[in-house]
Symmetry: D2
Subunit: 337 residues, 4 copies
C-alpha cells in the first residue's frame, strides 16, 4: 500500500499515518516524489481499509501495489530514479557507458584499456578483482591488490569504478575502493549479501540471474532497497536458452518490461549475452534502442591475451565505433550520450 | 562443397565439373556470385578430394561448407541476397516494413489500415486469410474471400501482399492473390509444405519455430531453396521462454547469428514477440539496431475491435511514430528507410 | 459447458436441450459416460445461464469446463478413455508397448526386430515410412513400399502397426496399412492435418511439440476430437531445454498434469527424449512410474547399422531387460504389463 | 589427469609421482579406490606426457579426465561413493528418504511430522531454519532456535538432520546442530560458501540451480571437494521451463546423466519440482525408477496450516503410501528401501 501525503501535511498528521501503518504490522518507507511525500507500507501486516486511510488528515491518495516488489515499483515512485555519483548520472537523460576488462590483470592493462574507453565516452570502469569462476581451479582474481590498482588508474583518468562483490564478507574491504557494487548473476538470490548491501552508502547494480523472471529480478533489487539503500540499478545480461552459437540470449523484452514496472535504471551487459566479440555491437545497439539506460561492456586493449573472457571483449577501436552508433540511436529515442 | 569457377571457364569445363559431382552422388546447384559462377554439391554423396577438384580445368576455388545448410550459407554466396518484387527490395540497403492486421476482417478495416501503414512508410501489407488458431473453435479466417479483398485494397494503395499459407493444398489458390508466401512458426518444420514452396515463383518468408535453433531455422529455408526457389527470407518472432509478462521473448542474438551465417534477408516480427502493444515499439527499434532487414508488424485502424491479436496491434499513430524512430536508427547502422 | 442428462431422459427432452445449445451458437458433442449421457457445448456461442439449463427437463447436472480443451477434459469425461484395437487396449489397466525401428529399411530388419519386440511383450510395431528429416538432403523414407512391408511383417507376427503421417495428402494411402496414425512433434500444430484426422476411423497419437505447453498439446488432441474422432492418445517425447548431454529433456511433470486434466491415454517416447541408448531405460522406467499408459520405444535388431537414430535405438536384449523391470514397476502403480 | 598406482607401490615411488605432478603446477588429490590408490592432478598446471608418467615406477595406469570436474568424475573413482552417517548409508544399495517440513515452525510440528516420516521409512529429517525467501518481507526462518528444536526432536526419534545453509557466516553455528549441510538452488554458484564447506567434516548436499547444466552442477560439487571434503551428494529439484501448471520441471535426464558421469550420490527433490501436492508422488516414484539414490520430500503433519510451501507438502498418509510404492520400484531397479 502506498500513501501519498498532501503538500500541506503537518508533521503530526504524518506521524499519525505512519503510526497507523506500523500498528497494522508494516514497515514504513518514505520516498520524496517531486513536491509530495510518498509512504509505502511493506512487509507482512494486515492491510487497513483503503477508505479508512484516505479519510486520515493529510492523506492525498492511497494505492495498492499489486506487484510483489514495492519500493522498486513505479506505483511507489512514478518518476524514473536517477543515481548520481559525482557528476555522473545513471538513469537520467544521458546514456551511461561502463566499460573495461573482465578481470583486473595489470597496471598496463588498466591504463591502456581505461584510456581507450574514456576516450570513447565511458565514464565508469569495470574490472573484476574477485571472480566467480565455474571451476575451482581457474584464476580467482587479484583481490585487494587488483582493487587498489584499479582505483589508482581510474582516479588518474577521471573514471568511476564498478566491481563485483561475491560475499558479504568482502563488502567492507571493497567499500574502500569501488564506487558501485556489482552483484553477479550467480548471486542474484544470495539474500544475506543483498541484505548487507542494503546498509551501504554506495549504489548497487544487481545483475539478473540466468533464469530469473522479471519479478524475481526486481525482488532482488527490493531486498537491497528494503535495507535502506535506494540507489539500486538492475542489469540484464542474457538468459539461458537452448541455442549454442552464443553464450546466452539477450532478453530485451525484460528491459522493456522492467522499465515500465519499475523506476530503477536498467543497464544491459551485451558481452555476456553474446559471448562472441562480433555479436556484441549489434546487441549493444539494440539495448539502447529498446530503452536501456546504459551499457556494461567488456573491452580489453589486447583481448587475445586476456586471462578471462577474451573472446567476448571488444577491441578499443570496436568500442569507439560502437559508441558512435550508440550516439545516433540514443538520439532516436530522445536520449544523449 | 562449393566450387567457384574461373571467369573464363568454358561450357565444357563446367559440364565436366558438374558431371564429376553428380557421379559422386550429389545434386548440383548454381549461384551467380558477381562475375563468378558458384556451384554447390548438396545431398548425400561421397565427397571427392578437395585437391582433385581444384585441379580440374576451370575451377578457381573449392571450399567446404561445415554448416548443415548449404544454399542458405554465406560460404555459398558471400553477398547478402536481395529479393526484388516490383520496385521493392528486401535485403538491400533500405529497411522494409510489412504491416497490417493479424486477420483480414472487412474492406473498411483493410482500406483504413492500409492507408495508414502506407503513409507511415510500409510497402507490404500483411493480413491472414487462413489462420492457425490454437483452438479448433476459434475463427479460422475468411479464406479466399479475404485474399481477394486484400489483393484489391493493396493494389489500390500500391502495396504488396504477404499472407500465411498453412498447407500445401492452399498454395495454388493463394498464388493468385499474394506476393509473398508466409510460413508460420507452427509450420516451420512442415516439410511437405516447404518442399512444395520450393517450386513456386514467389518469395517465401519462413518464420522461426517457437523453440527452433538457428540451424533448424536456416535448414527450413534450405528445404525451400533445395526445391529451386532461392527467393527466401527468414523471420524471427520470439522464442518460448519462462517469462509471463510477455507472450514470447524476442531473440536478437539469433538475428545477429543468422545475418553472419547466411546471406538471406532477416525480418523481425516484434508483435508476436511482445504480445502487448506498448512493448512492440522498443522491440521493433531494437531489431533494426541489431541489423534486421525489415519488420513485420501488426497494425489495426481500431485494435480494440480486432477479431484477433488486438492487444498486440499498434494504433496507426504509434506505427507512424515508430517509423520516424526507425528512420534514425537505420541511419546509425548504415541503412535507410 | 457440459450437460449430464438423467438416466431416464426422453429423446424429446434430449433434443430440446441440444436445440437450446445450438440456438446459443454452439456445436454439441455427445459422450456416453457409464450409464449417463453427457453433452458438451463447444465453440464460440453465447453461454446460457447455468440455472436455466439445470431447470430443463431431463438434465441431471451442468458444469463449466474452464480449460480451453473441452472434449479432451476430464470434466467432460471422468473415466479414463480406453482405446481398443483388436484385442489391444490402450489406456486400460495394462501398459502398452509400441516398439520398433525409427525408419523402415528392409524385410530382414522388420522381421528380426518385430520378432524381438513381440517376444519382449510389445503388441504394436512402430516404423517410419515418411520421415520428417531436418535436412532436405537426408533419406526421406521408403513411402508406400515401406508401409506394405511393415503391414505384411506385422500381420505375420500378430503385431499392430503405428506410423507417422506428415501431411493430410498421405492419409488415404496410409489408412490402408496402419492401425494408428502418429502425428509427429513438428506437426503438432499442423491444423489442416489434425482436422483431417478428425474424420478417420483409426486412432491417432499426437506427439507433443518441442516447446508446447500441456494446454497446447491437449488442444491439438481437441482438434482431432472436434472432427468426430475420439480415439486420440497423446505422447510426451521430451522438450527442448539447454542441456547438451541429451537430445531433449523428458518432462514427466507434463505426464502427471495431462493424466489429471484429461481422460486421454498418455504415452511416453523415451528414445527421442534421451537420444542416447543407455539413457533410454531409466527414462522408460520413470515414465511408467509416473503414470504413463504406455511406451513408444526405438528398437533395432542391429542399431549400429540403422539408417536413422541408431545411437538411440535399443538392442533387443536391452529392450527385453527393460520390459522385465517395467513389469515390476507397473505392479507398484497398480497396473500390469 | 588420473594416476592409478600399483598395489605394491612404495612410499618413495608414490612421493616421486606426487612431486612430479606438483612440479607441473598441479594440486594432487588422493582417492583410495578399492585396493589401489588413485591420484588426481587438478588445477591449472602443464600436463606432462602420458607416456612419461606411465613409465614412472609404481604407476599402474594413467588416464585423462575430459570433463571439467575431476574429483567428482567416475574416471577418478569408478565405484559409486557411499556416504556414511551413523548407520545410514547414502549412495549404497538402499534408497534414502529425507523428509520433513519446509520450514521449522514449532515443537509440535516437528514431533508429529518427525514421527510420521520415521514410521514411513525416512531416516533423515529436513527442515529450514534459515529460509531463502524471494521477498524480503516474508518470514525468514527461526534461526538457531529452530535448529536447536529440530536437533532435539530428531535425536529423540532417531533421525538425522539436514538443513539449508545460506551464507558461509552460518556454517560454524549450524555445524553444532545438523548432520548434513544443504546448499540451496539459489546458492549453487555461491563459491565462497562452497569453498568454506570444503573444509567441514560433515556431508554436503548441493542442489542444482534452476537453469544449471549438469556440468555446472557437478562443478559446484567439485568446489566443495577441491577443499578436501569428499562427502558430497547432489540433488535435482526441477529446472525452470515455460509450463505454468507446475512450479518447475523435474529433469530426470540429468539424474541419469549425473549417475553415469559422476560417482556422487544423486538425490531428487520432487516437492519443489512439482509445487503441487498431488504431482509429488508420481515424480518421486519416477525419480527412483530413473536411478536416484534417495528423495528429499516435504511432509507436514498439517500442510494446510504450514507457514511455507503448504501446497506442495504431503500429508503423512500420502507419504506412507508413497514409500510403499517406492519399496516395489526400488526392487525393480535392484535396490532396497
Amino acid at each position: 500500500m502506498v500513501i501519498i501525503l498532501r503538500p500541506d501535511v503537518t508533521p503530526d498528521q504524518r506521524h499519525a499515518v505512519e503510526a497507523r501503518l506500523r500498528d497494522c504490522g508494516f514497515q514504513v518507507v518514505f520516498s520524496p516524489n517531486g513536491t509530495q511525500v510518498t509512504m509505502a507500507a511493506v512487509g507482512e501486516g494486515t492491510m487497513p481499509g483503503m477508505e479508512d486511510m484516505l479519510r486520515m488528515p493529510g492523506v492525498a491518495d492511497v494505492r495498492r501495489i499489486p506487484a510483489p516488489f514495492k519500493l522498486a515499483s513505479r506505483i511507489f515512485r512514478e518518476d524514473s530514479s536517477v543515481i548520481r555519483i559525482g557528476d555522473v548520472e545513471i538513469g537520467g537523460k544521458s546514456i551511461v557507458l561502463m566499460a573495461g576488462p573482465c578481470t583486473i590483470e595489470s597496471e598496463e592493462q588498466l591504463v591502456r584499456t581505461g584510456a581507450a574507453v574514456y576516450a570513447a565516452g565511458a565514464r565508469i570502469m569495470r574490472g573484476g578483482a574477485f571472480k566467480p569462476r565455474t571451476s575451482p581451479y581457474s584464476f580467482q582474481g587479484l583481490g585487494e591488490e587488483g582493487l587498489k590498482l584499479m582505483r589508482r588508474v581510474a582516479d588518474a583518468q577521471g573514471l568511476l569504478v564498478i566491481s563485483e562483490v561475491m560475499d558479504k564478507s568482502q563488502i567492507a574491504l571493497m567499500d574502500r575502493y569501488v564506487d558501485i557494487f556489482q552483484v553477479g548473476a550467480r548471486n542474484m538470490q544470495n539474500y544475506p549479501l543483498l541484505r548487507e548491501l542494503g546498509s551501504v552508502e554506495r549504489p548497487v547494480l544487481v545483475k539478473r540471474g540466468l533464469a530469473a523472471t522479471v519479478d524475481e529480478w526486481l525482488m532482488s533489487a527490493e531486498y537491497v532497497m528494503s535495507g535502506g539503500n535506494d540507489r539500486v540499478m538492475v542489469c540484464e545480461r542474457g538468459i539461458r536458452a537452448y541455442e549454442t552459437y552464443t553464450r546466452n540470449t539477450l532478453d530485451l523484452n525484460a528491459v522493456a518490461v522492467a522499465k515500465s514496472l519499475s523506476h530503477l535504471p536498467v543497464i544491459v551487459d551485451p558481452s555476456h549475452a553474446a559471448g562472441i566479440r562480433d555479436k556484441v555491437p549489434p546487441l549493444a545497439r539494440a539495448a539502447i534502442a529498446a530503452g536501456a539506460d546504459g551499457l556494461l561492456v567488456e573491452v580489453h586493449y589486447d583481448p587475445e591475451r586476456a586471462i578471462c573472457d577474451g573472446p567476448q571483449s571488444l577491441f578499443p577501436e570496436q568500442f569507439q565505433e560502437l559508441t558512435g552508433q550508440i550516439r545516433m540511436i540514443a538520439e532516436a529515442v530522445g536520449r544523449t550520450l
